[in-house]
């Protein structure tokens, strides 16, 4: 690892989440840590150099060396899988960890490009169609899923009175999408 970057926006978000509910914040951070460890473990096994880990408001970004299609799929799958393994082990003793870890894995498996599901979709598409088509399909799928998520979060906030957090989560995801490289 050459560089670890922690942004101020992440620290602000951390303060805010701690104020909101420190227990859930801790559980969420633990789930994220296990998820990222899954990615890092697979990278270590395949000996892929890790250039940078950036922790920001829109999540953790691991910048690494070039990966082949198969390795990219394994690496992307490792995060959600490790989250699900954590959920299985903590289901009876710490159900909150299990539920949040499962939710995190599900969100990460959505076919939105910088997320794990989007990376898997891209790697699969790259095997069958050309680069331009891949980009077009990925952009369309991302746009459709993000629109659906925004509608769902508005429905949760207005109809089910879930508060503003679903909208905030979707906005963070949108930030991640527009910040992709």
């Amino acid at each position: 690892l050459k560089r670890l970057k922690i942004s101020f926006s992440f620290l602000a978000m951390l303060c805010f989440l701690t104020w909101l509910n420190w227990k859930l914040c801790f559980v969420f951070l633990l789930s994220v840590a296990v998820h990222e460890c899954g990615h890092l473990l697979v990278m270590k096994i395949w000996r892929i150099p890790i250039e940078e880990i950036a922790i920001g408001m829109d999540g953790v970004k691991i910048r690494s060396g070039v990966m082949g299609g198969g390795v990219e799929i394994c690496c992307a799958l490792a995060g959600p899988l490790s989250g699900l393994i954590l959920a299985i082990f903590t289901m009876r003793l710490y159900p909150q960890i299990a539920v949040i870890s499962t939710m995190l894995s599900i969100v990460n498996m959505l076919p939105i490009y910088p997320l794990d599901g989007g990376r898997i979709l891209q790697a699969i598409l790259c095997m069958y169609v050309n680069d331009n088509s891949v980009r077009r399909i990925i952009n369309t799928v991302t746009w459709v899923v993000c629109s659906f998520l925004m509608l769902l979060s508005c429905w949760l906030a207005i109809v089910l009175q879930a508060g503003l957090w679903p909208i905030a989560v979707t906005l963070v995801l949108l930030c991640r999408v527009s910040n992709r490289e």
């Binding site: 926006s9 805010f16 539920v99 879930a162 508060g163 963070v172």
Partner: protein, 83 residues
């Protein structure tokens, strides 16, 4: 052209991030120095205590903690959400 578009996109992304940063900061300060306003804000963000989403989360975690069947717990939480 491409560079300009990239610049614009970077500006829009950073402005969203800094807007969120400012909201977090304001909410944090309110919570620390004005607890009453902080509590109201907390309800707005977390949702009401009787919200079906919170109830479903409670049913799910409670059921799993009591070693109940996962399928049963999931269907009960779904019922809470649907009602």
């Amino acid at each position: 052209m491409v560079v300009e578009r990239k610049k614009k996109s970077l500006i829009s992304v950073s402005s969203v991030i800094y807007l969120l940063f400012a909201i977090c900061l304001i909410l944090g300060v309110c919570g620390r120095f004005y607890p009453e306003i902080g509590e109201k804000l907390r309800t707005v963000i977390e949702g009401s205590a009787e919200s079906p989403v919170r109830e479903a989360f409670g049913v799910l975690t409670e059921g799993l903690g009591k070693n109940e069947d996962v399928k049963d717990v999931l269907s009960r939480s779904y019922e809470v959400l649907r009602d």
